[in-house]
């Protein structure tokens, strides 16, 4: 991401910022910056209908610069797009003020974002996104007999590139079906890796499976790449690392990343740090449950007593459409930082972030045990969690309605 222009008032934190996303990951960061009520300005395409004096209409597509007030933001992880819809706020020759429009943020296209207040969390996101040191991209392949996931893991995103499911008949006397379908399965995974992994950017390919599946597959891969002369594989053979995972479901990727040997290799990546922090929290839960708390009510109580040592949150909490709820979390983070705590903000596109989201989205490791906190009820915090999860839901009907509104119907 490039920061093109920054115009933030030091008085009240209001102002606008112009950014240019250049990788798909930047779109994710942009998504995290957008909040209901903000104003976004960028170029977009809109169908403009003209009525002639005789009453006949002609319509053509026009590229326009529009400013809209954000009403709803969507991130589509499959095609990597951010869609923003809301009412048009700027005067224009072709579009009425107040008409509905949906913008799509595009790569290498400036957009400017105006907020009433840019708080620290936003500024952190911008800083992270604009950090020129690109973090390594890692490909993860988890498989077990009959099921495989090929994923791409970047600093803030885990993208499932392919999911392969093949029915493998069981062994039976005098039947070669088992061997045949295993071959078919391996071939599908081979093709998926070949197609989806760009070795120019990917530093390492982690392959995890239970038992010998990974070894069998790697053997197949080595044999086939020589036979077919698949250059990308032959040149990057050293990038494949075999490791252990208990199954081929997507969340087994987490196990791959928590493997100490792998962790050492990927020391600096965000995902490895997140997984480590979360594991530390889980271990604390076992060793000393009075020093590990989750849920906003519990964690903020602990913060009141300045007991928080490490604070774990998901970015989803800061996307909450409820401004008040967001402010509470921001305050929590700022207070914790001021008190010298380490703060990790997990990306909810990573499996570790999703896991944390399941555990109410906020957790803390304390400096000293606080057994009395456990007595406090959890009512409040459950509501917040529900709120956050409903945000996530994607309503196709809503989409259609918005689109219809956009067209001025």
């Amino acid at each position: 991401m490039k920061l093109v222009k920054r115009n933030i008032s030091s008085k009240d934190g209001g102002g606008s910022i112009t950014l240019r996303p250049d990788t798909p990951e930047d779109l994710w960061h942009a998504f995290n910056l957008l909040q209901k009520g903000d104003c976004v300005r960028c170029t977009t395409v809109r169908k403009v209908v003209k009525e002639s004096s005789t009453g006949s209409t002609t319509s053509n597509k026009k590229r326009l610069m529009l400013t809209i007030e954000v009403k709803k933001v969507d991130f589509d992880p499959d095609v990597l797009e951010v869609r923003i819809s809301g009412k048009v706020q700027s005067e224009n020759d072709f579009v009425r003020l107040g008409a509905h429009h949906t913008l799509t943020l595009e790569l290498n296209q400036n957009f400017s974002l105006e907020k009433e207040c840019w708080d620290q969390i936003y500024l952190d996101v911008i800083e992270e996104a604009c950090n020129p040191e690109r973090q390594a991209e890692v490909a993860g392949v988890v498989l077990h007999s009959g099921l495989a996931h090929v994923c791409l893991v970047t600093g803030a995103l885990t993208i499932t590139k392919a999911r392969i499911e093949v029915n493998i008949p069981k062994k039976r006397t005098g039947s070669s079906q088992n061997a045949k379908s295993i071959k078919k399965f391996f071939e599908a995974v081979y093709q998926a890796i070949l197609r989806h992994i760009d070795f120019a950017r990917v530093k390492v390919v982690l392959m995890g499976s239970p038992g010998f599946v990974k070894d069998d597959f790697f053997k197949y891969l080595q044999e086939e790449m020589v036979r077919r002369d698949d250059r990308p594989f032959i040149e990057n053979k050293s990038k494949f690392v075999l490791c252990k995972a208990s199954n081929g479901h997507k969340h087994a990727l987490d196990e791959v990343f928590s493997d100490p040997a792998i962790m050492a290799r990927m020391n600096d990546t965000k995902v490895a740090r997140e997984v480590e922090a979360l594991n530390k929290f889980m271990r604390m839960m076992e060793v000393d449950p009075d020093r590990a708390y989750y849920g906003f009510a519990h964690v903020s109580k602990a913060q009141e007593q300045l007991a928080v040592d490490t604070l774990l949150l998901t970015d989803q909490l800061f996307r909450s459409s409820n401004v008040k709820a967001r402010k509470e979390y921001v305050t929590l983070v700022e207070e914790a930082r001021a008190a010298g705590a380490k703060v990790f903000i997990f990306s909810s596109m990573h499996l570790s972030g999703q896991q944390l989201q399941q555990v109410s989205g906020v957790a803390a490791i304390l400096r000293y045990p606080l057994p009395e906190i456990a007595e406090i009820g959890e009512e409040e915090e459950e509501e917040v969690a529900d709120d956050a999860s409903s945000d996530e839901e994607y309503d196709p009907l809503w989409r259609v309605k918005e689109d219809v509104a956009d067209m001025g119907l």
Partner: protein, 633 residues
């Protein structure tokens, strides 16, 4: 507060634990459940009305045809049947005590005598085969009377073409053709909707027939499971010595190249073997820690288990204490409903058939089994060597025969108690393997409850496609009574407990997958992704389970990512709540939790279908909990 009690509460099996001795004539079935679930209350009335006269006819002497009014078919035992009395009598005799040589009677292992007649066997052994009456609760017979009012004269004899949709002699009156098509088997006339489930009458042939007994082979990796099973197959005469010949014995079961290359079982090996009292389906499970999910699919389909432990110094200890799979397998088997276990202390020849070593291992394993609530009577031990074949069928080594007088492995397998089958419950079939061959799409699996015949229409869940069973094949032809003219019918029926292959039509191979459930179209199990369940957290759990913990949910042959979405209560073994909404669940505790799966699957309350109500939770390669479904949400 002992944790033993907790396990008991959790894994209690009503067909063994509490009833133990009454096991045979225990005709306690929860018919009420069945009714509430499938029959609308308004419709049950006329059925009762019809039931009363018919059952009186069927059992003229029976004084009280309807002990419980709301049950459409009375549970009264028809007096015609003298079986209960006999059954009671034979019951009081204890089952064959372990180690009493007299019990392991003359056993012709490989081929049972052609005229093998169950009753005579009963006389000699006293346990195996109770008289005809057992296994079919008396209620069934009256049920038949109920549903076949017109043919009441031949109460026990269904019309020749019963079961075919078009046959409905009684299915006349106000049925429209659509109902006829969907409500395949019902003879009852008062149904309006295809969704009303009326249980099929259990055909006569099944009342005396016995189902296959599924036996899973458990144990730590390299304990010698496959070798021992290979030896069983050779000694029982299924595979000639010459055929087995030079290859390692385990290759009989490990048929995959990778398995042979590495010398490790990776998939369930399924074979059949016949002993006089049982048609046994052997499920040879892998012992390697990475393949526990596969072992779970085996144990979920098993009635009884053989646990193989290696006796040689160091190996037993490694498999049992040092993080080996022996204990995990025991826990899983128990949690998945296996209640009889035979412990084969293998490789004892390497310890020079030392009785001391045998006793030492026996004591250790036994105490652990008892902890896991295996009934003492259902635990048996025997020494053997799978490699040499000693004590598999016979004993040659004088060192062993000097102190061991008990049964051989094949005799011990013969002495397993038959499992009780639930024939009158709605049909459920769990697919364990799918493949296409010349004959069509074949689904192999086990009938969990009810029964199925060739020609039936079934629904595949969760996808909902309707298929027709073109053909039904047993892995080995079931043993039948030679005097019975209708015995051949058994061949095309798969009853609860049988492992069969169904040739299906009306579906593409790709639509079917392992783990799908087949059921009757009008008595489907519910599809759900959320359930309230009782779980028992195992002591191997290091990281406590908190709300939102991500786990793998294993049920039958399925594994599905899931989250523990709510911790409802921490309970004592008896079910009393210790703490509501606990913050975390740590090892050795029982709890009520809410589980949310990523996908919808067919599952049921434990009370209505055992097989679909039991599950295992795993996390990063460790088993963390076993449980039963309490309520679907």
């Amino acid at each position: 507060m002992s944790r033993h009690r907790m396990v008991r509460n959790l894994t209690q099996d009503d067909y063994y634990d509490d009833y133990d001795d009454e096991y045979y004539d225990d005709d306690y079935y929860e018919d009420d459940d069945l009714q509430q679930q499938y029959a609308p209350p308004s419709l049950s009335k006329p059925i009762i009305a019809a039931a009363a006269p018919a059952s009186v006819f069927a059992a003229p002497v029976a004084a009280a045809p309807a002990p419980r009014a709301q049950i459409p078919w009375p549970k009264a035992k028809p007096a015609v049947n003298t079986a209960p009395a006999i059954a009671k009598g034979s019951l009081t005799k204890p089952p064959p005590g372990w180690g009493t040589p007299s019990n392991s009677a003359p056993v012709g292992v490989a081929q049972p005598p052609p005229g093998f007649a169950p009753p005579s066997n009963t006389a000699s052994v006293g346990v195996a085969k109770p008289p005809d009456g057992w296994g079919k609760p008396a209620a069934l017979q009256s049920q038949k009377a109920t549903t076949l009012p017109a043919t009441a004269a031949g109460v026990m004899k269904p019309p020749p073409d019963w079961g075919k949709p078009s046959s409905g002699q009684e299915a006349s009156k106000n049925q429209d053709s659509k109902t006829k098509a969907t409500a395949t088997k019902s003879k009852s006339s008062n149904k309006q909707q295809g969704s009303v489930y009326v249980p099929k009458p259990v055909p006569d042939i099944l009342k005396t027939a016995k189902s296959q007994l599924s036996m899973v082979v458990l144990g730590h990796v390299d304990a010698g499971k496959s070798t021992m099973m290979g030896q069983v197959l050779v000694q029982a005469g299924y595979i000639s010595k010459r055929e087995a010949g030079k290859k390692p014995m385990s290759w009989i079961l490990d048929e995959n190249e990778q398995e042979r290359e590495r010398g490790v079982t990776m998939e369930i090996g399924t074979k059949t073997v016949r002993v006089p009292k049982h048609d046994i389906v052997l499920l040879d499970a892998p012992g390697h820690a990475d393949f526990v999910p596969i072992m779970i699919t085996g144990a979920a389909n098993a009635d009884v288990a053989i646990l193989v432990v290696a006796a040689n110094t160091g190996e037993f200890e490694a498999g049992f204490d040092g993080g080996g799979q022996t204990k995990e397998h025991i826990l899983l088997a128990r949690g998945l409903g296996v209640t009889q276990i035979l412990v084969a202390i293998n490789k004892l020849d390497m310890e020079d058939w030392s009785k001391q070593r045998y006793d030492e291992i026996q004591a250790k394993v036994k105490s652990y089994l008892l902890q896991q609530q295996f009934a003492p009577k259902r635990i048996r031990f025997l020494p053997l060597s799978g490699l040499t074949g000693e004590n598999v069928k016979s004993r040659n080594d004088s060192k062993l025969s000097a102190w061991y007088k008990g049964p051989t492995l094949l005799d011990a397998m013969n002495d397993f108690l038959p499992a009780k089958r639930q024939l009158e419950k709605p049909f459920r079939f769990g697919i364990t393997d799918v493949y296409a061959e010349g004959k069509g799409v074949v689904a192999r699996g086990r009938v969990m409850q009810g029964f199925v015949e060739a020609g039936e229409r079934l629904v595949v869940l969760p996808i909902g496609d309707v298929v027709t069973v073109n053909k039904l094949e047993h892995l080995q032809p079931p043993t039948t009574d030679d005097n019975d003219k209708n015995a051949f019918k058994r061949l095309s029926i798969g009853m609860a407990g049988d492992t069969v292959e169904l040739v299906l039509s009306g579906i593409e191979l790709v639509r079917l997958s392992v783990g799908s459930i087949l059921s009757n179209p009008n008595a489907r199990p519910p599809l759900t992704k959320k359930a309230k369940a009782k779980v028992f957290i195992l002591d191997s759990v290091t990281i406590p389970i908190i709300r939102g913990a991500r786990v793998m949910f294993h049920m039958q042959s399925l594994d599905i990512p899931a989250t523990v979405s709510k911790l409802i209560a921490l309970t004592k073994g008896g079910g009393e709540v210790i703490k509501e909404r606990p913050r975390a669940l740590s090892r050795n505790s029982s709890a009520i939790v809410e589980i949310t799966l990523n996908d919808k699957i067919a599952m049921e309350q434990f009370s209505s279908c055992r097989a679909l109500g039991r599950f295992v939770l795993r996390r990063s390669g460790d088993t963390i909990a076993v449980g039963v479904i309490d309520e679907l949400l």
